[in-house]
């Protein structure tokens, strides 16, 4: 970022947020120290790979001194007393945090509509949902309010809004990025990841936040990789898996766009191979049955004693639904009937995906099976809303990485292509994205 005036850059973004964010509602809080932090970059006091890059942070990641609200009344006044590991790393590399982004309440949603601070609009398709739950992060990047943002992905929460907003996003391999300082939705599935407008910035942010942390028991002891340095748009010889099952569950208008991108990849020397995912549709119930139980457990600390309010007294309908469902499943009479079976199917889906990946480098397909609905549309049946996650949850259940890049548009609404790979094969995903970006 040599030669870039960080104060000027940050000021420009802040002015844009002030002018245009009232319409988008992508930020919950702006960092009052953003200009001061940018000044330190210009003075050479803060250096690094992200020096001068302006970063938005999802409101469920702790940034010391700013509020981590999870977009809920429960934590509306909760000030983070420490930095999450990813934030320590962003700050250490000179990133300037512009503010905390809006999201679905406690990450419980796929539309960006369940926030206590109001719904977020889609800058790429005004009047439609931006997707969720990292709605504000994707919308802020798409609207040009920051260079890059951090989101979290439990069942598609980075990839779904990236697809709807026409930006690039990546959910890393489970354990690659430390979760220390992330307020959990479901701890066995959550991962923090980046969202940006270009693949290089995405790769750069990923290499900064990835890596082992002894404070977090599930981080992997793997060597640091320089994804941005190794970006390569030459994908000739890559074997790309495509499943027939994607077509069965996806809007034909979306599939038409995805097939065009597959042609592009083929024209760049990649080989398309058919793969089989017969249990694809079982991913959704498996995922939700696991999430209800883990979320119920995660919310027991919100009892209103040390901070915030007691969650059940102030939360929204979807959060309360998941708490109550988790409670029911956790009760003795239900054990074995739902949760145990979901964990068995989790094994099945993981095995199936890893087996499919044995013969290919990546699996490519749609990200979301349907187009984003218009803001304000009444969707009473929760299962209809959960349907947005059908194609994204398998990657979380299997712990594999998955990225999203814009493939095209249907009537002005962006459609994202999803690329999944073997554990720790983020570089291949980024290379395929880079190839598409340069086509």
């Amino acid at each position: 970022m040599g030669g870039i005036n960080a104060v000027q850059r940050t000021s420009t973004y802040l002015e844009k947020v002030e002018e245009k964010d009232p319409e988008i509602n992508s930020f919950i809080e702006i960092n009052p120290k953003a200009i001061k932090e940018a000044k330190q970059v210009d003075e050479g006091k803060r250096k690094g790979r992200l020096a001068g890059l302006v970063v938005g942070v999802k409101s469920n990641i702790n940034v010391k001194g700013l509020r981590a609200t999870c977009a809920s009344k429960t934590l509306e006044n909760y000030i983070s007393p420490y930095d999450a590991t990813v934030i320590e790393r962003v700050k250490a590399e000179g990133g300037v945090i512009i503010g905390m982004t809006n999201m679905d309440e406690f990450a419980c949603g796929s539309s960006g509509e369940t926030s206590y601070f109001g719904e977020t609009n889609n800058p790429a398709a005004l009047g439609r949902i931006p997707g969720g739950s990292s709605s504000g992060s994707a919308a802020a990047v798409a609207a040009g309010f920051c260079d890059v943002a951090l989101g979290s992905d439990t069942g598609g929460s980075i990839r779904n809004p990236s697809s709807h907003c026409g930006v690039v996003g990546l959910k890393p391999t489970y354990g690659l990025v430390p979760r220390y300082g992330l307020i959990d939705l479901a701890m066995s599935l959550d991962q923090i990841g980046p969202i940006s407008r270009d693949v290089y910035t995405l790769a750069l942010m990923l290499e900064v936040i990835a890596g082992y942390n002894p404070k977090e028991a599930t981080t992997l002891k793997v060597s640091k990789k320089e994804y941005s340095k190794h970006l390569n748009s030459d994908i000739s010889g890559y074997k790309i898996g495509v499943a027939k099952e994607f077509e069965k569950v996806t809007d034909p208008r979306i599939m038409k766009i995805i097939k065009k991108s597959l042609k592009v990849l083929e024209s760049r020397g990649a080989e398309i191979k058919e793969i089989f995912l017969p249990n694809l549709e079982k991913g959704l119930p498996t995922y939700y049955l696991c999430v209800f139980v883990e979320f119920f457990s995660a919310t027991r600390k919100f009892d209103g004693r040390r901070y915030g309010y007691r969650i059940e007294e102030v939360c929204g309908k979807e959060v309360l639904r998941r708490i109550l469902l988790g409670k029911y499943i956790s009760q003795k009479e239900y054990s074995g009937k739902y949760y145990k079976r979901a964990l068995q199917f989790r094994s099945l889906i993981k095995e199936e995906l890893l087996k499919a990946l044995e013969g290919v480098d990546v699996i490519v397909g749609p990200t979301v099976p349907k187009l984003p609905h218009k803001l304000g549309t009444e969707i009473e049946d929760p299962l209809v809303m959960y349907g947005y996650d059908l194609l994204t949850v398998p990657a979380n259940l299997a712990g594999i990485p998955a990225g999203v890049i814009k493939s095209g548009e249907v009537g002005g609404v962006p459609v994202g292509l999803q690329i999944q790979a073997k554990p720790l094969d983020e570089q291949k995903i980024l290379n395929v994205m880079f190839a598409l970006e340069n086509s």
Binding site: I79, P81, Y82, P214, A217, T218, R305, Y338, L343, S347
Partner: protein, 76 residues
């Protein structure tokens, strides 16, 4: 709202579990294959700001700075 959700709950669970059939496999409880369970012993680093901010977050703090908690109504 609670009653309404409770009424829906069984339906949601029934519909979700109907999609799943039966399968004879070991459960995946957690991604535990690579789990790191050891860490080096170190002296804790005390951040005074952490304590100050935590006090601000606390619903009630006494004159000496101790958190005032109470038994929740729901367990009385």
């Amino acid at each position: 709202m609670v009653e309404e959700i409770e009424r829906e709950a069984e339906k949601v669970l029934r519909e979700l579990s109907q999609v799943l059939g039966e399968v004879d496999l070991e459960e995946t409880y957690y991604v535990v294959e690579e789990i790191n369970v050891t860490r080096n012993d170190e002296n804790p680093d005390l951040d005074n700001e952490f304590i100050e901010i935590s006090k601000k977050n606390a619903p009630r703090v006494d004159e000496e700075g101790y958190f005032i908690t109470e038994v929740g109504r729901w367990v009385e």
